[in-house]
């Protein structure tokens, strides 16, 4: 069978999540799951360096609106013993830290538990941990 070639190019993992990275929204919110002709992209990382790792807040552009989100996993390998995911995963969040969705099916790294105070609500809706 002929192998169909997809008509887009993908860059290898360079620096985790930075401006203009396409991300995958992982929770079950309507904003994250309704299809749109453009994938959600990061437009700002709330960090001293412009590079976002697990546990950093970013600004996403989804369906023509700006929304804050929390990074829960990226393709770039991190410290040993931490999981490396096959896609850049993100959970939509309000300004005060409340998640918009009600369930997160994909696995979340245990390292997020360290900041229990800020992300307690996000961790509460997470089902699987890795």
């Amino acid at each position: 069978s002929a192998v169909i070639q997809r008509q887009f190019s993908i860059t290898g993992a360079c620096q985790a999540i930075q401006k203009l990275t396409r991300v995958r929204v992982v929770d079950n919110s309507t904003l994250g799951n309704t299809p749109y002709h453009r994938p959600p992209k990061c437009i700002h990382v709330y960090n001293k360096t412009g590079v976002g790792k697990v546990g950093d807040k970013i600004l996403l552009a989804i369906k023509g609106e700006k929304k804050k989100a929390l990074i829960v996993g990226h393709k770039m390998p991190g410290p040993t013993m931490t999981p490396r995911f096959d896609s850049n995963n993100v959970v939509l969040i309000e300004d005060n830290g409340n998640p918009i969705g009600t369930r997160i099916k994909t696995p979340i790294p245990y390292t997020l538990r360290r900041r229990e105070g800020e992300f307690s609500k996000v961790l509460a809706i997470a089902r699987n941990f890795v």
Binding site: M81, R84, D86, V130
Partner: protein, 246 residues
Amino acid sequence: RVSSDGKPPKFQPPPKPIIIDRKTQKEERRFLSPEFIPPRGRTDPLKYYIERKDMIQRRKVFSIPEFYVGSVLAVTTADPYASDKSKRFVGICIQRGGKGLGATFVLRNVIEDQGVEICYELYSPRIQAIEVLKLEKRLDENLMYLRDALPEYSTFDVNMKPVPRMEHEEIPVNKLQVRMKPKPWSKRWERPKYNIKGIKFELPEHKMKAAQKWSQPWLEFDMLREYDTSKIEAKIRKELSEELEK
């Protein structure tokens, strides 16, 4: 038994015992973990000797089982942020890297349609148990192409039961040819540099031929790249068996 003459039967001496020296046979065939073999270089062998002593010390306290790239392992690590302070991860070993105490292995699994890979350090004190659920080899030493293969080849049940295996059996080689997702892949696995035998390439003929353009057939004859580890291995095996018996 009474013979025809009525005399007792002729004394038949018992057959001579056949002595099979299993100990030396076992030692030659026993598995030597690849991180014990020092890399080719000009460093003082004393450094590797001291590292090996530390590795043996760790192995006396915590048993690291024999496993290869392609076997399914379950690793329990200590984590302060996990419930019950320990977490278990099941996955297929796709790569074994590093030498000495920094030896690592990467386990891959697909959980809830999300591929997860964790790189563990063999000699890290955070590891509480390593269990081999399925011991087998694959056609390649590096299974990084599983990232671009269909997810069914990397999914393993988290509650898998260990596959029973008889001792002294040959380690089975799984000649599975993996089917890939459509291109683009993270690396061009069809190129001869990776020398992958475990993929079922469904690419057209002209693409496979074009990939052979990057082949370097002189590499296998390059004498400066030769690294004969047989003598080093024999020495290390002797050292290991002496130390572990103490």
